[in-house]
Structures are given as structure tokens and as C-alpha cells.
């Protein structure tokens, strides 16, 4: 789980171009949207690409991702349950 969370944070930092940010700076339960990391609607779509590309999980719309994308922990939980690769 620790390994998955670290990898996931690295993938998010790279795909979302979170300049000067390290995995340690993102709390596992920090909200990703609004307060916290302050991600926006395009970032949400980018998270869908990460799930598809690295874990073989297909989400059809940002609406489906709403609860999944709450925090790093919630994404990691979802990946563990649904990953196909």
C-alpha cells in the first residue's frame, strides 16, 4: 500500500505538472480539489487518464470519479479494488 501511494503521488505530480512538489508534501488524506492541492476540472480528466494508463481502470466521466478523487487514500483504495494491471 505504501509503495502504491508513493508511485501514485509521483504519477500525479508528473502528469499534472505540479512544479516543485514532492510526494512527501501531499498528505494521504488531503483534499485534492478546492482547498488542499487545488486541482481543477482538467486535472480531474487527467486523473482518469492515470487510472486507465497505469492501472487499467476505465471511468467514463469526472462525475464517476467524484468520490474516488477525494484524496490520495481514496484513489489508492479504488485502485486496489479495481485494477486490471
Amino acid at each position: 500500500m505504501e509503495e502504491l501511494i508513493k508511485t501514485l503521488k509521483e504519477q500525479i505530480i508528473e502528469a499534472l505538472n505540479l512544479e516543485d512538489m514532492t510526494p512527501e508534501q501531499i498528505g494521504n488524506d488531503d483534499p485534492l480539489f478546492g482547498e488542499g492541492l487545488g486541482l481543477d476540472s482538467i486535472d480531474a480528466l487527467e486523473l482518469i487518464v492515470i487510472l486507465d494508463k497505469h492501472y487499467g481502470i476505465k471511468l467514463n466521466s469526472p462525475a464517476e470519479g467524484k468520490t474516488v478523487f477525494k484524496s490520495i487514500n481514496s484513489i489508492a483504495d479504488y485502485i486496489r479494488q479495481h485494477r486490471t494491471k
Partner: protein, 565 residues
């Protein structure tokens, strides 16, 4: 007055305005559902020319995009007296992606790719235009932008006639990008409907020939007025209140004009956000009782062509005394109190408003009429250059002062941003072209726009290669057979005008924001476009100039801030 003397529509529904209007009036649609369209995995509903028609219509030595533009313009010129060879005739193209279907992920894989402005000049040369070609790239409002630029060049007397072609073609590039944005409807789109699921992409070239006349005595249609602006909300999502469209419509609406309106031909893309926003704008502008129609369910969203093709279809229908229904619509699914046209409706009115909105947070509204009242040509105040900046791979010079920077190349642009701006914007999500334009313009604007209302600030940038680096990067995300992962963030950067939206959002610019793509840097043409834009729109401040970028170490920005003397 600007009179429309001739029109053409080249779409899957026909190769002339007459053929297209007849097809639309019969309720025909260019939309078809395809599996794996253009090699993009998935099932899509698109407004596409069938493969055999594409082959038959493609002209030797020209890309598919260039072929469509050439065919549309050649047809329109065959029935006007306007002479392309006259130095008093200008050719303007409006497009969001031009011939990007010929671009490769790396230069070695390019087909017949030409930078958009170069492609426009090639088509202009083939058609015998004497004056230099112009191309505007303002995403989905490119059609309105191209027509407005033409009107200004004619009103100011720089040219006597203009041939304005809005065009975009369907490509794996665009399809993959919109799929990544989750904006595509798998079924024919349903503008303003409760059950709308998103847009369908279409392809089309549509052309209007415009001339300046002293009065509106002649029969036919006129472009009476228009307004372009930015809602400064988000580069890929319209402002929920519809403020941009509302302000654009309000600016061109007088009580007399309202009384003459037959309908509003909306943008109506059938995405959740666009249609909702437009309904709020139309209601707020006091047009809740005017029939609203939309034609995206006939052609799909044809991007750069949409503003022109949808205006032409409306002119044809009002010529017959009818408003055509918004195909695909049955039950109102927006909260703005507006009157959707759901069945063919008789009218004796002969004016309409065409609205448009696009990526880069830009909006536009134009007023067309058959018997307009004369209006005075604009004359603006005098402007002076208040500040300048130039950025190259080795230096940044602001108002004659060399800014101390340690890096060079692309890193210099990032250093410039980090050291002098760091404004919490989406800077690090941008491609190099956008970063360059953003950092340079951001520095010019800093502390210089205080006391000026956002609506009084405008942006007008010129480029040759625009977003070509982002374009190649986007292609690289889905060109391998087993690795189809287009990135929404990268795709958004492929719209070269998106940086104008980024600037508008951060600096709160709510005036007109336009990107012009030229075949090469040309100071005289740039100055002409800047001057007619200032005369017509009279902002308090304009950030304008040249930005171009071809690789990490080959780029340059030369921007000015002009303010009223």
C-alpha cells in the same frame, strides 16, 4: 455598411449554400455513428465526409483542410464580381486547428503539414489573391473573429472587399482530444435538451464574401454589428452565469434592433455547460421571448466554420420567412428562461443574432440584418506604447532594462515566471508557446492595469507556429497502437489561443482576446490589424505583439502595452 454579397457552404450535406440549406430544411443530418473513426478506438457520432467523398474532393498537392477551403472559396468566387487579384480584396481564414491532420508526432512523420498561416497563404496564392492572407485562430469563435476582422478592415477603408472562410476538418487529433475531455456524445447531439450528452464533431468550410457599401439600399444581408470578449473564467469551461455572451449580446442590442429580431442562432453545442450558460445569457439579455435555434445536430460542431455556416443557414431560412427548429431538441434542459424553436415557425422579421463561445474563455455575438439602419463608422482615440518587453532564449528586456536571469532557452521562461510573476496560475501546465506568451504579457500587465476596468483591456497576439510543440506532444500520446492515452491538459494547449484565456483569467482581461496566425512575421500587417482593432473596439489598454516558438531554444516574444494617449 458591410454587405454579404455571396456565400458558400461545403459540408457533407452539399457543396453549395443552396444544397446545404435544402438538406437542412428537409431535416437531413451529416451525422453518422462510426466505430474506430479515423483510427481512434471507440464508437463516435460525427459529421464527416465519407471516405470516398474525401478522396474525390481532395485536391492534388493540398491537404484535406486546404482542399475544403479552396473548394469553398473557389465556388463562392464563381458567382461574385469580387476580384481576388485586386489589392483591395483581402482573404481571411478562421480556424481552430487548420491542417493539423498532416502533422506528425515528430517532424520526420509530417505529411503535407504547413503552419496555419502558411497554409492560408498557399490557398490564397492558388486562388490568385494579391493581398497577404490572414488567419485567425480563436477556437470555436474563429468564424466570428474572422468576420469581425474583415468588417473592421473594410469599414476603415484598408480593403474594399473581403473573402472570409471559416473551416475545420475532422481528424484523429481533434477526436482523440475531445474524447479525453469526455465531451463527445455517442449519439446525435441534442442542443438545449434535457437528455443532451455532449457534442458531435463535424467538418465543413463556409465562406462569405463581404463588401463595403455607402448605405443599406441594396437587397441582401448585412453584418450590422458584432462584439467579441472574454469571460475570464476558465480556459476550457464557460462561466456559469453566461456573463461573456450576455455582455457581447448587450453591446450590440438596442431596443430598435431587438424589435427586428427573428431569432437567436445559438452556439448550442449540446454540452451540459455551454447550453446552460447560453440560456442564462440570452435570458439576461432580455431575449427570453425570441425564438432560439441551433444547427449542431445537422452539421456537428464544425468549430472554425460553425459561426459562418450557421449564420448562412439562418439567412437562407429568413429569406423564406421561416425559423428552422433546433434539431435534436425536444424538452428544455436548461434553467435560463428562453424560447427554443422546436418546429418550423413563420416570421416576417429579417434580423438575427449569432452567438459563439470557445476555449480560451472567449465569446462573441454578431447581428445580421436584411434592412439595417445605417451606422457610423468608428473612430477611436489615439494610443501610445506605454511599455514593451522582448524575450529571447538568452534574455528578457522590459522597458529597455535587461532583467537579470541565469538560465537560457526554455528554462529562462520558467525562471522569468518564477522570479517575477509566480501568480498561482496554471503556468506549469502550459506548453512553451503559452508559457512564453504568458510570462511576457504577465510582466507587461503587472501593476500597469490598475484602475482600468477588466472590460476595457484587450489582447491581440500574432504568431506563425503557435502551439506546434503541444500539437506534436498531443500526437505522441496516442500514436502507438497499444498506447492510446491522450492527455486532456496537453490537448487544451493545442488550441493556440488558450494562452489568451490563461492571461484573461489571471489578469482579469474581459475585453476582446484574439490570436492571428501569419505566414511569417510581418510588421506592416500586424500594425494594420492592431490599428483597425483599436479603432473599432476602443479599449483603454491593449496587450499586443508577436510570440513564436519552434523548439526549446528557438523562440521569441515582442509585446507592447498600448494605452489611450
Amino acid at each position: 455598411m458591410i454587405r454579404i454579397v455571396s456565400t458558400n457552404i461545403t459540408s457533407p450535406l452539399g457543396l453549395t449554400t443552396g444544397e446545404n440549406y435544402a438538406a437542412v430544411a428537409r431535416g437531413e443530418r451529416a451525422l453518422q455513428t462510426m466505430d474506430g473513426c479515423l483510427g481512434v478506438p471507440g464508437s463516435f457520432c460525427v459529421g464527416i465526409f465519407p471516405e470516398s467523398r474525401r478522396k474525390a474532393l481532395r485536391l492534388a498537392g493540398f491537404s484535406w483542410f486546404e482542399s475544403l477551403v479552396l473548394r469553398s472559396v473557389r465556388e463562392v468566387l464563381s458567382h461574385t464580381v469580387v476580384n481576388p487579384a485586386s489589392p483591395r480584396t483581402v482573404f481571411i481564414v478562421g480556424t481552430s486547428t487548420a491542417g493539423v491532420e498532416e502533422l506528425g508526432a515528430v517532424p520526420e512523420k509530417d505529411g503535407h503539414y504547413l503552419a496555419p498561416g502558411v497554409a492560408a497563404q498557399k490557398v490564397a496564392d492558388a486562388l490568385g489573391f494579391a493581398a497577404p492572407a490572414l488567419l485567425v485562430s480563436n477556437a470555436c469563435i474563429s468564424g466570428a473573429t474572422a468576420q469581425m476582422l474583415a468588417c473592421r478592415l473594410l469599414e476603415s477603408g484598408v480593403y474594399d472587399s473581403a473573402v472570409v472562410c471559416g473551416a475545420d476538418v475532422l481528424s484523429a487529433f481533434v477526436l482523440a482530444g475531445f474524447q479525453a475531455l469526455k465531451a463527445l456524445s455517442p449519439v446525435p447531439c441534442r442542443p438545449f435538451d434535457m437528455e443532451r450528452l455532449g457534442l458531435n464533431i463535424g467538418e465543413c468550410a463556409a465562406t462569405v464574401v463581404l463588401t463595403r457599401t455607402a448605405d443599406a439600399a441594396g437587397e441582401g444581408w448585412y453584418i450590422v454589428d458584432g462584439c467579441l470578449n472574454n469571460d475570464a473564467w476558465h480556459v476550457s469551461a464557460p462561466i456559469p452565469s453566461g456573463d461573456g455572451v450576455y455582455r457581447a449580446v448587450r453591446n450590440i442590442l438596442t431596443p430598435a434592433r431587438k424589435a427586428s429580431l427573428a431569432c437567436v442562432t445559438a452556439h448550442g453545442t449540446a454540452t451540459m455547460f455551454n447550453d446552460q450558460m447560453e440560456s442564462k445569457a440570452i435570458e439576461q439579455a432580455g431575449l427570453g421571448d425570441i425564438p432560439v435555434t441551433a444547427y449542431k445536430a445537422h452539421f456537428g460542431h464544425t468549430f472554425g466554420a460553425s459561426g459562418i455556416v450557421e449564420a448562412i443557414i439562418t439567412m437562407c431560412s429568413l429569406d423564406e420567412g421561416v425559423i428552422l427548429p433546433a434539431a435534436g431538441f425536444s424538452e428544455l434542459g436548461v434553467s435560463g428562461k428562453i424560447t427554443l424553436c422546436s418546429a418550423r415557425t413563420r416570421t416576417d422579421r429579417t434580423a438575427f443574432i449569432k452567438t459563439q463561445s470557445g476555449f480560451g474563455s472567449c465569446n462573441g455575438a454578431m447581428l445580421y440584418a436584411k434592412h439595417p439602419q445605417a451606422s457610423c463608422p468608428p473612430s477611436g482615440p489615439d494610443y501610445a506604447v506605454a511599455r514593451r518587453i522582448s524575450v529571447t532564449p538568452g534574455s528578457a528586456v522590459l522597458d529597455g532594462r535587461d532583467l537579470p536571469l541565469e538560465s537560457s532557452g526554455a528554462a529562462l521562461v520558467s525562471e522569468l515566471y518564477k522570479k517575477y510573476l509566480s501568480d498561482g496560475s496554471r503556468f506549469f501546465k502550459m506548453d512553451l508557446f503559452s508559457r512564453l506568451a504568458y510570462a511576457a504579457a504577465g510582466l507587461l500587465a503587472r501593476n500597469a492595469l490598475d484602475g482600468i476596468a477588466p472590460e476595457e483591456v484587450a489582447l491581440l497576439f500574432f504568431t506563425q507556429n503557435g502551439s506546434v510543440l503541444a500539437d506534436r506532444k498531443h500526437l505522441s500520446t496516442f500514436c502507438e497502437p497499444d498506447a492510446f492515452y491522450p492527455s486532456p491538459a496537453v490537448f487544451i494547449n493545442t488550441l493556440p489561443n488558450v494562452v489568451l484565456g490563461e492571461l484573461a483569467v489571471t489578469c482579469q482581461v474581459k475585453g476582446e482576446t484574439t490570436l492571428v496566425m501569419l505566414p511569417e512575421k510581418d510588421g506592416e500587417t500586424m500594425e494594420t490589424v492592431i490599428r483597425v482593432t483599436l479603432d473599432a473596439t476602443r479599449p483603454k489598454a491593449l496587450l499586443c505583439g508577436w510570440v513564436d516558438c519552434t523548439d526549446e531554444n528557438t523562440f521569441g516574444a515582442e509585446l507592447e502595452l498600448r494605452t489611450v494617449k
